[in-house]
Amino acid sequence: MIYRIVVLIIKELIQFFRDKGLLLFVIYLFTGDMYIAANGIDLTLKNAKFYVIDEDNSFLSRELISKFQKPTFEFSGYLSSVSMAEKYLFEDKCVGIIVIPEDFSKNIKNKTQTQIGIIVNGTETSTSYLFSGYVSVIISKFSIENSFNIETKNLPIVNLRQRILYNNNMDSHIFMTITELFSVITLLILILPASAIIKEKENGNIEMLLVSPVNISEFMVAKVIAMNIIIILGVITTTIIIIKGVLKVPFNGSFILFILLTAIYVFTSSGISMFIASVASNMLQVSQITIMLLLPILYLSGSWAPIESMPYIFQKLTYLSPLKYYLEGSFTIILKGLGLSYVYKHFLGTFILGIPVFLAGVYFLKKKI
């Protein structure tokens, strides 16, 4: 029996490597895609372009503008009127515009209240939020410094010293790369086994199997294991070559532990794929059901938005996403560098949620065939 399974696994692997197009895309997913995700997007505030309408045009107003520095901000120039500002915001040329009124420096010197306007482009989701926050902080700091004729160093005020744990520079590349890897793994584990099974159905090979000595469970197990091997190999190479090598993401924890968690996640999640294969009868259905299941799994894992800011019902639903346990466990291993005594819960979560999913997948598929 073991021999038969091994032969079937080898057959599946050969078949996989024969489909050059698919092979190319899978290789791309584990390499180029990771690189693009790491470099394309930054959810923290970076190079936020802004213009200034400076009606005061004084030393103080220029000094205020000089406080907005790279890499967070990028000063793009002065505008002469609000109608210009409107045009620039309409064309999305900048994130925001700072308006300094005529008597700005006079008011500051006389210690009377003065106003500064910030116009933020409200169509830039997260960035507009961060932009107004950061700008307010800089302006109120500036206000404290300039309203008292004492040096800030000697003022009796509270200075915050922020230390960002596990990721000192708040570098979003690390986060993006790792979550992208998880999305890729999840996409492939949902679609590859299902499509391998559907292909046999479509080609009518299933009937042939029924009359052969191979039993259906062996056949399915072989397919699942073959796809698991491919994905785990992909994860190992990406982690070593792309994540550690090219992108230089610090890998603090145990590599073996991470691969072990990956293996459990991948193996148990293939149950979902078998379920898809049992429901679907052609590839169009497979692709649609996969997307229907993939999106909630990704979202509920917390890889897009932090779990604590989700609506209450969604927060509870996150426990149903197998990716949640895998994601949290892996971050604990990779970035926090903690050992089994911290991540055993995530192992258990992946396992306890995964086993019924896997068994249900096998059950449904067997019943269907």
Binding site: L43, G117, T125, S132, G133, Q285, L295, A305
Partner: protein, 372 residues
Amino acid sequence: MLRLKKIKAIYKKEFKELKRDKISRIMVFMMPIMIMIVFGYGMALDVEKIPFVILDEDNSVLSRELAYKFIENTRYYRLIGAVSSQKEGLKLIDKGKIRMMIVIPYGFEKRLKSNKPVNVQIFEDGIFPYRASVSVSYSNIIANNFNIDLLSANGNKNQGIDIRTRYWFNEDIRQKNVTASGVLLIALFIGPAIFSSLLIVKEKEYGSIYNIYTSSINKAEFIIAKQLFAMSIFFVNFFILFAMTILLFNVPFKGSFILFLLAAIIYLLVSTSLGILISTFVMTQVTAVVGTAIICIIPSILYSGYITPVSSMTNEAYFIAHIFPNYYFFNLIKMSYLKGLSLISYIKNIAILLVFYLIFISVAIYRFRKYE
């Protein structure tokens, strides 16, 4: 020359096939609804209720006052409790129970009273950098307000600067306005592309494409019939999605519906012809699905301006954003829903989308072979 009769025949065949397919005929309409619900509700990028603990070594009136400033800000922060040592707090962060720890040092009040500045240490969980950076800016604002109160209480008269922030196009900064209307960008791109590429590749994989090879239909007719079929499915989906943005998510709509409909149709032409173009490169359906998803997801979500503004992208990313059609359609979406219409800008974006369509469809027709 395109013969309408032939196109109609293929169209009818596809229609019958979908009608017969019990699962797909529901799924094609369910999928966009699902995407809308997950993204519309899910892409909430407002960071709220950050769980935190306080380590108050000073335990004085002023230190409690500062702590209270954080506690009373219940929209952004949620107090889990007090800890008695840094080690205890760091362990909680390690376990993922809390995201932030504030350490108010011993001698806090004494230093302030003797007119000296004092440092307060904050530990942030940096796993999710966006959350960390929002939290950093919130805590800075809180500390600044505390400082201003402190200075004015000490008799330093100061009126300070009054900051007036206005959010244009989205006055009450409802993120859902953008995230929900932006779903049109994703759902009308990925879905149609996968669907139309499968329409062609399935015939290749089943071998029924040989019927086409030997028939009198020419390749342009065949491709256009398939495209029209995919278009009509997602044309219906457009209305469903549009209704959801208005009725379910209450996104304001400032533009003209007719013009927006036209823009959506052109966008669908682009996405379906991209799907068909991809189908000319692949032989199996699984490759078509995986390949199309890869090619479509990255530009429509990451490089369209949906998540980060195109204006603040670095040179390389800025360039990539401009060579995909999604950025232009997102301009049209923002214009129609939130900004109000500008005819010049509308025509410019539509024209660029049309160029994409013409390139995709002509390369697809050129590459499609009526023999092997």
